[in-house]
């Protein structure tokens, strides 16, 4: 189903050691581990934001994806509608390990605060000064139909002027992000078939 009024303004893919924008590879790195990969990406994009290093893996992934798409963003009313399958389980397991430690259970507030999937949207909102709606959905897999319905409603009712949508998943060392901005004007038609195609192009 296509929505004639809106377009895909830009899109970003992060997977398999590569970061691309609108189909063009901006950065690649053969670090095996995600933390080294994402840190190299942070340096590559010359991001000067020390709080990045306090974030959990999911937030780092979403944050870098948003950097790629929102760097020169001047639309304050850009809503964030993100989704994934693993929620914040990577950090949940860290918190669980800390409180189950037989030698002394100490919860870390800096870990606990990231045991919610929407925190990554809070980080993006702070970075880009977005006083907009944030919604985080959990699906078994990327679901462009439901996300598109949701984005359409935000745009049609004027609750947002643009929407940063997509999929940002981090689980057991594996990462997968596909973020895109829906706006009045853009590169491609806002179409769930198009989104599925772009998502599958790794």
């Amino acid at each position: 189903m296509s929505t004639p009024d809106y377009h895909i303004k830009s899109y970003c893919r992060i997977s398999n050691g590569k970061i691309s924008k609108n189909g063009e590879v901006l950065f690649s790195d053969d670090s095996e581990e995600f933390p080294a990969f994402i840190k190299a990406a942070y340096k590559h994009f010359e991001t000067d934001y020390s709080k990045f290093f306090k974030m959990d893996n999911l937030s780092k992934l979403a944050f870098i994806g948003a950097e790629v798409l929102l760097k020169d963003n001047n639309e304050e009313n850009t809503a964030l509608v993100l989704s994934n399958s693993a929620s914040s389980l990577d950090t949940d397991r860290k918190h669980q390990n800390a409180i189950s430690d037989q030698s002394g259970a100490y919860a870390s507030p800096a870990v606990f605060v990231y045991t919610l999937p929407n925190i990554c949207m809070g980080e993006i909102s702070i970075r880009h000064k977005l006083y907009s709606e944030n919604s985080f959905f959990i699906f078994a897999e990327f679901n462009p139909h439901l996300l598109s319905d949701y984005a359409n409603d935000l745009l049609e009712t004027g609750q947002a002027n643009e929407v940063l949508c997509g999929w940002v998943d981090y689980d057991k060392g594996k990462y997968d992000a596909f973020l895109y901005v829906i706006a009045k004007k853009g590169l491609l038609p806002f179409d769930t078939g198009e989104l599925t195609k772009l998502y599958r192009t790794k």
Partner: protein, 85 residues
């Protein structure tokens, strides 16, 4: 005391994920919050956990933290006076 101060600096850098900050860059009298190292409220909570876990000090009132965590000097003095391990 200077050993403790070095230990605190290392722990702060490690546990609060201060990237690209080295031990030499933190002076004993530098403010840890606000202008200085730029620590925030979550870091303060993390330091309260550190006091308990590593030095056996439990703060009766978390607001006490504000004074204790002013600088490496104040932290070291408080730990030396109150540590139980």
């Amino acid at each position: 005391m200077s050993e403790l101060k070095l230990e605190l600096k290392e722990k702060i850098i490690e546990q609060l994920n201060l990237e690209d900050v080295s031990v030499d860059e933190i002076a004993d009298t530098d403010p840890l919050f606000g202008e200085g190292l730029g620590l925030d409220s979550i870091d303060a909570l993390e330091l309260i956990v550190m006091l308990d876990k590593d030095y056996g000090i439990r703060l009766a009132d978390p607001k006490e933290g504000r004074k204790i965590f002013e600088s490496i000097d104040t932290m070291a003095a408080y730990i030396t006076a109150n540590r139980t391990n």
